[in-house]
Amino acid sequence: MIQTPTPNVRVVTFKIDDRDFSAREDETIIQVAWENGIRVPSLCYLEGLSVWGACRLCVVEIVGSPRLVSSCSTRVAEGMEIRTDSERLQAYRRMILELLFSERNHVCSVCVSNGHCELQNLAQQCGMDHVRVPYRNKVYQVDSSHDLFRVDHNRCVLCSRCIRVCDEIEGAHTWDSKGRGIDTQVITDLNRPWGESDSCTGCGKCVQVCPTGALVQQGTSVGEMHKDRKFLPYLSRMRDAQ
């Protein structure tokens, strides 16, 4: 809803990290930043899907405002001065990543997504090289019941990209989340094994948009899981055009 283009939108000028920019007023901070090579980190944001605003890695400072805003959900405005990379933000992002790594069992060295994982890359990009909070060490299931795909809840960061792509692009709404708080988990249908799902079309979009090794193709070994998202901007535009 945030990105619905409306006619007669104005063009506004603003600053990101002391550089001057202009953009349509219905663009979000993260869109402008990414278009211009400013790497604001994010896990849940994905162009072509609705805005979720949950990972909080993309929070930025607006000069003159005491509050931080998530750049994926905030539109640019005339005269806005945005800071994306202060020391404070860097520290916050490292802590958020530490929390994510502590939450489930992310063992990069034995993960099929090793080397192609957004979480792993973000840790490096943000300089998060060790986790100070204790690991939760909670047991999570691996569901290999689907012929083509596998879900490993140990690697899930609850970004909800799978839920959104299945609902908004594929239209099946096979995925959703169950529970709440720290017990939240993604599910298929009535929390039944994925392979038994009647609603799943087996399209694999969820696998391709998953940032980590939580959703992967069957038969991949360590480091083999590459993800391909070229379909998303295309399908998203086609859906909007309808």
């Binding site: 959703d176 709440r180 249908d189 929390n191 609603s199």
Partner: protein, 164 residues
């Protein structure tokens, strides 16, 4: 052309499904009536099982995963049948300050039932509640729908013995 909406048949010929249908009909079988509908299923049957959720999903035209997601998000909904008797201990701040924790420990220990669970013989469920709004009676307990106030562990255990 949109597909004709099919009215699903209830999971059983239990008359209580009529009550649930009334709730859905009052809301025009709209998806936004999901929570209301789940309330009425739980009021009628005591809990939400898979057949019930499947029925509600198809009657309201909602994805299964969404129904499950909503049913498990809200703590008042339960997917497991409750015990014959329920002991709801208020864990609001006033009750906490006045010793709700000891009440929970006491019941938990005597009946070997952790908070939020039901005894193995399905006779007693021990449930924690977020403030029942009777802070003047702290610590308060609702035992089988009856409010008991200003309790000590022994009082509560005595009350429970009387009902079960």
């Amino acid at each position: 052309m949109p597909l004709q909406r099919i009215k699903p048949t209830p999971p059983s010929d239990d008359k209580r499904w009529k009550l649930i249908d009334v709730t859905m009909r009052r809301n025009g079988y709209a998806g936004h009536a999901l929570i209301e509908t789940l309330h009425s299923v739980q009021d009628a049957f005591g809990y939400l099982d898979d057949p019930a959720m499947k029925f509600v999903a198809s009657a309201l035209n909602l994805p299964l995963s969404k129904v499950y997601g909503v049913a498990t998000f809200y703590h008042l909904f339960t997917l497991k049948p409750k015990g014959k008797h329920t002991c709801v201990v208020c864990t609001g701040t006033a009750c906490y300050i006045k010793g709700a924790g000891e009440l929970i420990d006491g019941v938990s220990e005597k009946y070997d039932v952790p908070l939020g669970e039901t005894t193995a013989d399905r006779n007693l469920s021990l449930i924690g509640a977020r403030c029942v709004g009777a802070c003047g009676l702290a610590p308060a307990v609702v035992l089988d729908g009856v409010m008991l106030g200003k309790l000590k562990v022994d009082d509560l255990l005595e009350h429970i013995e009387k009902v079960i």
